[in-house]
């Protein structure tokens, strides 16, 4: 039991400054996409009645793009505190599954490094990191670095959008200008291609896609991500075990 901290065979997982820097740099293209949505959030937050300071505090602490935009829908003079919390929680449930999938990198680290890094988990940095992990990188610093990159882009964009909301609103409120709304699809699709190992994965991907699409049509919110991911994982487990 004493030696079982590192569960994956092969080299031990490390957590280096070099890894952090590489994760940060590799994530910059995704950070730019996040920046576009951060500006939109900043603008909309002020229009919903938040002060620029409040919008910034929210981005620094809650730090969850889709959840924050949904919270704006509920923003009011009398804040519905519980509804806000429940909404944010439901929208972010997918991160439970994403965090669990980081097992090979994070389980062997000290709790401080693990649980500090997890604060910065986002869809974008996770997708990039989990791909690096699958391709054999053994430096979990990459996960923190990519998360920090998204954090900085999201927060500087929030500040810009909120403080210059009226100005920014006039010129930039739609990420589909420059095709930035397509950027995330392009990134996730490319990372998915890099996951391709052979035809044996097809049933897993097919079920994940079908379930996700059906859930998307029936249940509002982000449930399609977690249920599609679960469905694919279960099919994979049944076939491989």
């Amino acid at each position: 039991m004493k030696t079982s901290t590192n569960n994956s065979p092969g080299t031990r997982v490390i957590f280096s400054g070099k890894g952090i820097a590489e994760g940060f740099l590799k994530c910059i293209p995704l950070g730019i996409g996040v920046f576009a949505y951060g500006i939109v959030f900043g603008v909309l937050a002020v229009q919903a009645g938040m002060s620029p300071l409040q919008a910034q505090i929210m981005s620094l602490t809650v730090f969850a793009g889709a959840s924050q935009l949904m919270a704006l829908e509920l923003w009011d003079d009398h804040l519905p505190v519980l509804a806000l919390t429940a909404t944010v929680f439901a929208v972010n449930l997918r991160h439970l599954l994403m965090g669990a999938a980081m097992r090979d990198w994070l389980v062997g680290l000290t709790p401080g490094k693990t649980y500090f890094s997890l604060f910065f988990l986002t869809d974008e940095s996770w997708a990039l990191s989990v791909r690096e992990m699958a391709s054999g990188r053994k430096d979990a610093g990459f996960f923190l670095g990519s998360g920090l990159c998204i954090y900085i882009f999201w927060n500087s964009a929030t500040g810009l959008g909120a403080t210059m909301s009226s100005l920014v609103d006039r010129y930039f409120r739609d990420p589909s200008v420059l095709g930035l709304d397509f950027a995330f699809t392009a990134v996730f699709l490319s990372l998915l291609i890099f996951f391709w190992k052979g035809k044996s994965q097809l049933p897993v991907w097919l079920i994940a896609g079908i379930v996700a699409w059906l859930v998307f049509l029936v249940i509002p919110g982000k449930w399609y991500i977690i249920l599609g991911g679960l469905a694919g994982g279960i099919v994979g487990a049944l076939r491989n075990a």
């Binding site: 929210m58 009398h78 944010v88 439970l96 791909r131 095709g179 392009a186 996951f195 994940a208």
Partner: protein, 103 residues
């Protein structure tokens, strides 16, 4: 009145932060407490690509021909270059051209 508002704002922020952090840290916490069987391992190995599929499919399904074509070309670029930035740029250039001139 203003102080009340600030208090409610602070409470909202604290609860929302707790909710998001719980989802970020909770999955790993649970999985770190159990010794994975081969079946759990296989499950976790298939979750990442499945989540990517689950993000992509509904987002593309509600879009039009400009996005479909751009997605196909992006995927082809990813296959041939094996480079994230190159395939991302290919996709962005493609979608910009298609939206500006064709669809």
């Amino acid at each position: 009145m203003l102080e009340d508002g600030n208090l409610v704002f602070a409470a909202s922020i604290i609860l929302m932060t707790a909710a998001t952090y719980f989802t970020r840290a909770g999955g790993l916490f649970i999985i770190s407490k159990i010794t994975p069987t081969p079946r759990i391992r296989a499950f976790l190995n298939h979750v990442p690509a499945s989540i990517l599929v689950a993000i992509i499919v509904p987002n593309l399904a509600e879009k039009g021909p400009a996005e479909f074509i751009s997605a196909a070309i992006t995927a082809a670029a990813a296959v041939f270059t094996r480079n994230l930035i190159l395939s991302l740029l290919t996709g962005l250039i493609c979608i910009s051209i298609l939206r500006a001139f064709i669809f």
